[in-house]
Symmetry: none
Subunit: 315 residues, 2 copies
């Protein structure tokens, strides 16, 4: 593979210790330009300055394009690339692309303000994403492993698992129950407070009841948890308020975290993200501990769903 270097003719034997100028550095390009500029001809300086000023823009240009833009010729562009330490324009261009990407990622505006009514959609997406990612990091950092451990153990050996949640948390509760069912556990999500209580009183030692409430004081969720607690079930609270009333009836408390909320971004959004992370952790923990039965169950539930997809396969 004789390609990148030694474009020279075959007849010339390459000098053994030929001093190759320098390894092309992506970030140090601006410096290199300044260093080399004095020993460059006028046209070459123009080219060098242009690329240093707008790496991103130049990376998009072909030799010809850059030659035009700088009012020079292809040959000059190539000469400049060589002068800067690259084997040719192609490699300079790659370095330029790298540089552009670097300063694009480095120029992360670090958006910290609230989402407001007149933010353009781009900002909305950026802020929302940023917030959610922050929430995830916070949640993971604040999770008490021993509490998770305890909850997982209880769930893995439970005869039956009930999950309570209303409002936005109801979806999280359903999600957890759905997943647990998939790995062969007996789990049920209750959104209706009356039914929840009626079912809760059926629980006994060895069963698990999980309450999900961000505020920690949603009566519709506290009541069934209390009932379960009173009947000897192991109770778990997933809440954003570890001092909330719900924790009075919880054997194990898993704390979710909250991001700053604003008028347009109700607390429900980030609390939901946080809650989902927690229940996913619970789920995987349980799946690990019941792997013997969980693995085949997961597989067969996947297969059972296959026919619900349109036949047109896509590899």
């Amino acid at each position: 593979m004789k390609e990148n270097f030694s474009r020279r003719s075959d007849r010339v034997r390459p000098a053994p210790a030929q001093h190759r100028p320098a390894p092309p550095e992506p970030g140090a390009l601006a410096a290199k330009v300044r260093t080399m500029a004095p020993s460059m001809t006028r046209s070459m300086q123009r080219v060098a300055e242009t690329v240093a000023a707008d790496p991103a823009g130049c990376a998009a240009l072909t030799v010809t394009g850059l030659a035009e833009r700088t009012g020079t010729s292809e040959a000059t562009v190539v000469r400049t690339a060589r002068m800067l330490g690259y084997p040719g324009y192609r490699d300079l261009r790659l370095a330029l692309a790298g540089l552009a990407a670097q300063q694009a990622s480095g120029a992360a505006p670090a958006i910290t303000t609230d989402i407001s009514v007149d933010d353009p959609l781009t900002d909305v997406i950026a802020k929302l994403t940023q917030d959610e990612r922050q929430t995830l990091a916070d949640t993971a950092g604040a999770l008490d492993i021993s509490q998770v451990e305890a909850a997982v153990s209880a769930m893995a050996s439970a005869r039956r698992i009930d999950v309570y949640g209303v409002g936005a948390s109801s979806l999280v509760a359903q999600d957890l129950a759905q997943k647990l069912l998939r790995i062969g556990l007996v789990a049920h999500a209750h959104a209706d407070p009356h039914l929840a209580v009626t079912n809760a009183v059926q629980l006994r030692a060895g069963d698990v009841a999980i309450a999900i409430t961000h505020s920690g004081r949603t009566v519709d969720v506290i009541e069934p948890l209390q009932a379960a607690f009173d009947h000897g079930a192991t109770t778990v609270a997933v809440t954003g308020r570890p001092d909330g009333e719900v924790t009075q009836y919880a054997d194990h408390v898993l704390t979710t975290s909250t991001a700053r909320e604003s008028e347009l971004r109700p607390a429900a959004m980030s609390s939901r993200t946080s809650q989902l992370l927690v229940i996913d952790c619970l789920f995987i923990g349980v799946a690990q501990r019941t792997y013997e039965t969980a693995a085949p169950a997961l597989r067969s539930s996947y297969e059972a769903l296959a026919h619900r997809h349109s036949p047109r396969d896509v590899r």
Copy 2:
């Protein structure tokens, strides 16, 4: 006349509305590989995996070099580049150089290993969190703003909004509908495919139908969307497979991203994260555009719930 069961649609999608895949993003390349991999042929997958695994190394290679390294042909390499959204290999190579520079400078996506059966809980939490955060970043990076914009506009002025989703996506659909209701829009989530279709045929121009499916080929979701499409409603698909069947009946396609999945971590988990981010963006966008009515609606729905909380105030 076509058969009843024909999947063909009576309504013809305007030709120029060719869905342009996505603007090539340097950082989101790994995500793009994951998104597109399923619809790639074996050889193309090999190429895609190779570039994702070693961007720096591949950026140094010519088409021929990469073809050799992956044991394929130049044509296949170019095809892969196209599949990933670049006009050709040259541009993929530039993006690769950018990615390499990025991860060299620390903004490295850091390849986390799969969650395995005997990972301690601490690792499970760490990996899960890392994956979710990555998924969020990928999703945001891959979102086509103009599609979001279009969907938001349609929703903001819709007479009625229907959301379809089954399985895990059903919860996302419910979440969206719930939120939209809160700001005074007429929105409904349908999990039952029959009811969904029955309702879909009631839709007409000015209404919006949203289908949420990770695989892009869930019949139970495609059918109602098609019905809505045929009746003139504006249709939106939120899917992880921009080439899936569902997009045939979608005026606007919002692509969700997928994390590497493992046995213990079904795809549903990260796709859910991704989907939620997308619908949150939709929601906030709509809330902005209907601020006059949304703000008071949010406030009053909050107050209506207050009494459902236990009186014992917290701090």
